[in-house]
Each structure stands twice: as C-alpha cells, then as structure tokens.
C-alpha cells in the first residue's frame, strides 16, 4: 500500500529543485536577460558541490549537515562564477544571449566529465546518501502536515521553501526587486531614473547563477548515490516551469509542484492507487509537461507576461 505521504515526499524531491531553478531563471529574465544556460549552470554547481562532498566523505574531514551546507555554498559560488560568463557576454559584449547560453550548456557537461575522469578516473562521482532526516523532532508530530513535510525530509526542501519566500518578498516588496523588474521592462526609463541597468542585469544573472548552481546540487542529493555529470534536462524543464508560472514566484511554486507531480506519476504510475486504474500509458505523463507548456504559450501569447525588454541588449544611446 502506498502512503499518500510517501507520494507527496516523492513529489517534493522533484518539485523543489525545479522550483529553485525556475526561480533562478526568473531573476535573470526579470532583469531582461534570457538565460537558457540554466542546465549547464546546474551541472557545474552539482559537479563542484558533489566533488567536494565526495572528497570530504572519503577523507572524513567533515560530515553531517555541515557538509551539506558547505557543499551548497560551493555550488552557489560555482553557479555565480559560471553565470558571470553569461553576464559578461550578454550585458557587456552585446552577444546573442541564446547563443552564449547554448555555448555554456555545451561546455558544462564536457568540462565536468573531463575533470571527473582526470581526477577520479571515471565520470561517475559516488556520493554517500546520508542527508535524509527520518523525523524532524516535535514538528513531525503535527497531524497531517507532520508526515507530509517533516518525515523522510531533506534539509534542501526547507532551503527551497525559504528561497521561494525570500524571492517573493524581494521581488515585490523591496526597492532592489522593483528596480530589477524595471530593468527588464523598460530599461531606458530605469536608466533615466538614475538606476544602473547594467548593475541590475548583473545582479539578476548572478542571482540566477547562484540559485541554478544550488538547484543542481539539490536535484542530485535526494535522488541518487552517484553523479554522472548530467541533470537530465531539468534546466530546460525549469524554463518550462518558469513560463508556466508566468515569471511570478508563487505561480512558479505551483507550477513546479504540478510538474513534480507529473514526474512522480511518470515514474511510478503503475503502483499509484487511483491512477493505476486510468490505464493511461506512462509516455503521456512524460511528455505532458512539455506539451502543456506549448499549449500555455499558445493560449497566452496575446498577453504574454514575459518581461518586455527580454533579450534586448541595453544600449544607452538608443531612444
């Protein structure tokens, strides 16, 4: 018998990384820079984070949640460094943002495989999966919510939820968030108001890099015991989540949860009680997230919520 709580936890392990990476994409796009290099940034972040965790676990220098937190920090820094390449190309060099993003996507897995093979000899990095929290004390006793959120949980889930709340507040309540959004909507007006568009866009892309790097590690830690430099297209799926969530944090969270549920169903539809009886082939659940995104794009195209100046390099001299 499958417990609802188990299914819910499984949904969360897929939804949280999707949400964090989709929020990463949102910060970049809200500032006006297209970022399709999320996939590559995730791989880079996951790679360095896991390489660190692997090394520490082998040498017993660090363990427990301190190790996980340090790993997350390393992933974030890696993400920031890697996305700064995109920022330089897109903001300073007026490069085509899609092409520079594609370049970063091609480079990242090749780099990770090459370095892993040079250091460890094989491209798979083993990872001791010791970060699961069986029961959070006190909180797990809460009826209904307890088993859903506080059993068999990962610290990364709470970090993801915290990122969601902070993103929502930053984007809608702070001066920085409003300026960031204005750089993506009408950079000329932002500039006229005395706010540096270049700085805002840098901030957007670098935050995006930090979150995507973090998202890469969050994606790998709960679901696998080794990392072969690859995040299975999650970076691209996150773009779908971002569009489905209309570039708004709370909608993105809902979309990520929905896509996470579809992922869970596509992996285990044959053992889920009600769904098993529908007799829908698994392939439907696999392609549904992508097909739905295309349909949403088709329906909302007339009043798109995408930032108005998305993908346009900012040229001060242009009127």
């Amino acid at each position: 018998m499958v417990r609802i709580a188990d299914v819910f936890q499984s949904v969360l392990t897929y939804a949280i990384p999707l949400m964090v990476v989709a929020l990463a994409g949102m910060f970049s796009e809200r500032s006006g820079v297209i970022n399709i290099s999320l996939e590559g940034t995730m791989i880079m972040g996951a790679f360095t984070g896991i390489l660190f965790i692997h090394t520490m676990q082998r040498t017993d220098l660090m363990s427990g949640h301190l190790l996980l937190l340090t790993g997350l920090l390393i992933s974030m820094v890696t993400g920031i460094l890697y996305s700064s390449l995109h920022a330089i190309a897109a903001i300073n060099m007026f490069a085509d943002q899609t092409i520079s993003g594609t370049a970063l996507n091609i480079f990242a897995p090749a780099f990770a495989v090459f370095v892993a093979r040079s250091i460890i000899g094989v491209q798979q990095i083993p990872l001791g999966n010791v970060f699961r929290i069986a029961k959070v004390p006190v909180l797990a006793e809460i009826p209904i919510l307890g088993p859903l959120f506080f059993e068999n949980a990962y610290l990364t889930t709470y970090i993801g939820i915290a990122i969601l709340i902070i993103s929502q507040i930053v984007l809608s309540k702070t001066r920085f968030g409003l300026r960031l959004k204005s750089a993506g909507e009408y950079p000329q007006a932002t500039d006229a108001a005395g706010v540096s568009v270049v700085k805002m866009r840098y901030a957007g892309v670098l935050i995006s890099g930090a979150l995507a790097g973090l998202g890469g590690l969050i994606y790998v830690v709960p679901i696998s015991t080794e990392f072969s430099p690859d995040v299975a297209g999650y970076g691209f799926l996150a773009i779908a989540v971002m569009i489905f969530g209309q570039w708004k944090p709370l909608y993105i969270a809902a979309a990520a949860f929905f896509f996470g549920a579809l992922k869970t169903i596509s992996f285990s539809y044959s053992s889920l009680p009600v769904i098993k009886d529908w007799n829908i082939p698994g392939i439907v659940y696999k392609v549904l997230p992508y097909v739905i995104t295309i349909i949403v794009l088709f329906l909302t195209s007339k009043k798109s919520a995408a930032p108005a100046a998305l993908g346009e390099p900012f040229d001060k001299g242009k009127r």
């Binding site: 399709i36 390449l85 190309a89 060099m93 007026f94 490069a95 085509d96 899609t98 092409i99 520079s100 594609t102 370049a103 970063l104 996507n105 091609i106 480079f107 990242a108 897995p109 090749a110 780099f111 495989v113 090459f114 093979r117 040079s118 491209q123 500039d191 006229a192 005395g194 690859d230 299975a232 297209g233 691209f236 799926l237 773009i239 779908a240 569009i243 082939p281 392939i283 696999k286 392609v287 992508y290 097909v291 995104t293 295309i294 794009l297 088709f298 195209s301 007339k302 995408a306 001060k316 001299g317």
Partner: protein, 418 residues
C-alpha cells in the same frame, strides 16, 4: 560601389570565426597540457594531424582518415544547414536535436518495415520519411511563431524533449528495440556509396555526404538567387518592413522553419542509413548533433557555403578528439573546445560591429569633416581610452553631448600627458 565589390572578396567577414577557432584550439591545447603534460606533445600532434595522416592507426592510409572525416561531416553539415537556414529568417532553431531524433526514428522504422520495396531504393523512401518527420516537428514551432508570435526557442526546446520521449517510447512500441544493447535493431538498408568507398578505402564514408553537399548548394541558390530566398532573408532582417513591402511574412516564417526541420530530419536519416551500424541509444538524452549544428552554423556565418567549410572543420576536430582518446584523454575535450568556440563567436557579433563601425567612421569622417566624426567617437568609441572615459560620464546624454565631448577630450589629453 567599389567598396562593396572589394568587400565581397575579402576574408574580413570570416575573421571573427577564425579568431574564435584559434581561441578554442588554444584553450584545448592548454587543457591537454594541464591534464597530462607528459603526453601533451603527442596528444596535440595527434589532435591536429591525426585526422589527416591516420596516426590514429599506423596501418591506415590518410585517405581512410579523410573518408572518416567526411562521414562525421554529414550530420554536422545537415544540422548546420538547418540552424543556419532558419537564422537567415531570424529564427533560432534550437530544436534540431529533436528533429534529428524524429528523422532517425522514421528512417529506421521505414528501412526495417517496408520490406515490400526493393532494397536498392528503399533508402530513398526512408530518407524522405526522415525529412518529412523533421519538417512536421519544426513546422509546429514555425506555425506558432507566425500566427501567435510564440518564441520559437522555447517551443523548440519543449518539442526536443517531447520528441525524445516519444521516440524512446515508440522504439519499444513498434518492435525496433534491442533489449540486449538497449538500442534500436540494426538496419540493412543503406544509401549507395556512389563509388566513394573506392576512393576512400576502409573508411566509414557514405554517399550521404554527396547528397548533403548538393543540398547545401541548393540552399545557397535558393537563398541568394531566388525571390523566395530573398523574401526569407528580408523577413529575417525586418519582419515588419517585409510585411509592408508585400511579403507574406507568415508564410516565410513557416517555410523557413519547415525547411530547417527537413534538413535536421535528413541528418538523422542519413547517419542511420550510412551502413556503419549506427543505432539510436534508448536513453533520456538529447542527441548532441543538434547542438553541434548551432556551432557549425555560427562558424559558417549562416551561409550555406561557409557551413560546408565549418562542418568539415568540426568533423576534423571530432576525429581528432578520437585520436587522442587512445592516449587517455577524454574525448569530451572536443566539446569543451566547441563550447568555447561558440561562446567566443557569440561575442564575435561585437567584433564585427566594431570592425564595421570603424570602417564606417573612417569613411564618414573623410566625407563629412570632423564634427560628425566626433559624435561617433562618443557613442561608439573604437579606442580604449575613449571607452573608459565615456563610461564614466553621467547618463543624461542628449543635452550635455557637447559637454561630454569636451570632457572626453580633456580626459584623453590627460591620459596622453600623464
């Protein structure tokens, strides 16, 4: 007029590509040296000369090496054409991977199932089917772009994954699956070699390369010598202006995307009908050929004839990557180099812009005297001193242009003296 003619025969447009290639190669060599300096010299030699002289296998003649290179060139040329052709209409076909996958599947399906058709021309039907599959898939993105202005990049990414999961599912559902090797069953049907196997003995070479080159030439004629191609390029330059000029811009967008898909679908068909035992691996990974195509198209300046050379170069790199694998270097180094080349050529737009601005400025200063030339110097400063100075200025430019100019001049003067 004189100017235009001279430009046509110069290498200047290819300069950014050559610079990116040089930087990419240099980065690759540096990585090789860092990874294992003891074998670095041999590795670099094999990387650069291996594909040509058959160092990979001493018993091999250099013709075999070149034949292999021509084989690897097929998917690169076709996906490069796919991406480059769409680029000409201002569309970014990042969906070549999905179209490639769809084409591969349909080619294998038809080659194995159409046993009623004689083997000698079954390949033609299979190849046509592959082309059609790629075309249909890409048309979805084209139609959404034309009628609802949906960003074709996002649609193509979504279609990539849809195509990948569907193909992996259909391989099993249509009985093409080989569970032992986790890939599709072998295909006997192959494109005729047109005598190329005599010319390049013991190599993978396939007649597909001739078809691909012919298609590239047709592309060139279509784009540059026909009204249809002119319309495609006009839409790429300015969609709205084209509409006012009476061009059916919706039709152009759909046709451009459809043809781009056709080429990518054919790429998949050609590689699986080449008679070298290629099969679709049933993994949830997009085929890399589509992304390689982006790099090829950019290096080839989105020009069909340029793309022929770019794909030959990339095939040379790929074979070079295999020759250093025997020395213990991961072949991923080639993809790293491709990534770097692509990154630099993305910025090449800037290099090109700077080159053209400089040329423009020189001619305009000559024609109009100093005042206009000075204005250009403030907005698009070609020399680094002026760039630095201009960036320090406050943003309100319109009213204070004159002040800004004098400020820049003062700073430059100061730089010179101090």
């Amino acid at each position: 007029m004189n100017n235009l003619k001279r430009k046509r025969f110069s290498l200047t447009p290819a300069l950014p590509s050559l610079i990116s290639i040089l930087i990419g190669l240099l980065a690759g060599i540096i990585v090789i040296v860092i990874a294992d300096s003891s074998k670095a010299l041999l590795a670099v030699r094999n990387l650069l000369l291996g594909p040509l002289y058959g160092i990979y296998n001493p018993n091999q003649s250099s013709l075999t090496g070149i034949g292999n290179m021509l084989f690897f060139m097929i998917p690169l040329l076709m996906t490069g054409l796919s991406v480059g052709f769409a680029f000409k209409t201002g569309l970014f076909n990042i969906g070549a991977s999905g179209q490639f996958m769809a084409g591969s599947y349909v080619a294998i399906l038809l080659a194995r199932k159409l046993t009623g058709i004689p083997n000698s021309w079954r390949w033609l039907v299979a190849l046509a089917g592959a082309a059609l599959a790629g075309m249909l898939l890409a048309s979805i993105a084209g139609i959404l772009k034309a009628f609802r202005n949906v960003n074709e990049v996002i649609t193509s990414i979504m279609l990539n994954y849809t195509s990948m999961y569907l193909v992996n599912h259909l391989i099993r559902a249509t009985g093409l699956y080989d569970p032992l090797k986790n890939r599709t069953l072998p295909v006997q049907t192959e494109i005729p070699k047109f005598g190329l196997d005599k010319l390049f003995p013991k190599s993978f070479v396939s007649g597909g390369i001739l078809i691909a080159i012919v298609i590239a030439i047709i592309c060139y004629v279509l784009l540059y010598k026909t009204t249809f191609g002119f319309e495609l390029r006009a839409v790429g330059l300015n969609r709205h202006a084209s509409r006012y000029a009476g061009i059916n811009e919706k039709r152009s967008i759909i046709m451009s995307m459809a043809l781009a898909g056709l080429f990518a679908g054919m790429a998949g068909g050609m590689i699986h009908l080449a008679g070298v035992g290629r099969a679709i691996q049933v993994r949830d990974v997009l085929p890399p050929e589509g992304f390689d195509g982006i790099a090829v198209a950019l290096l080839g300046l989105n020009h069909p004839l340029g793309i022929i050379f770019a794909s030959l170069f990339m095939a040379y790199l790929k074979v070079g990557g295999q020759t250093i694998q025997t020395l213990g270097f991961a072949p991923e180094i080639i993809n790293m180099m491709i990534g770097i080349i692509l990154y630099v050529s993305a910025m090449a737009v800037l290099i090109r812009k700077l080159l053209s601005i400089r040329a423009k400025k020189q001619s305009e200063t000559k024609a109009l005297g100093n005042s206009d030339g000075e204005l250009y110097a403030v907005h698009d400063p070609p020399d680094p001193g002026a760039t630095a100075a201009a960036e320090k200025l406050p943003p309100e430019s319109e009213d204070s242009t004159n002040m800004a100019i004098s400020a820049v001049q003062e700073e430059i003067e100061e730089d010179k003296h101090g």
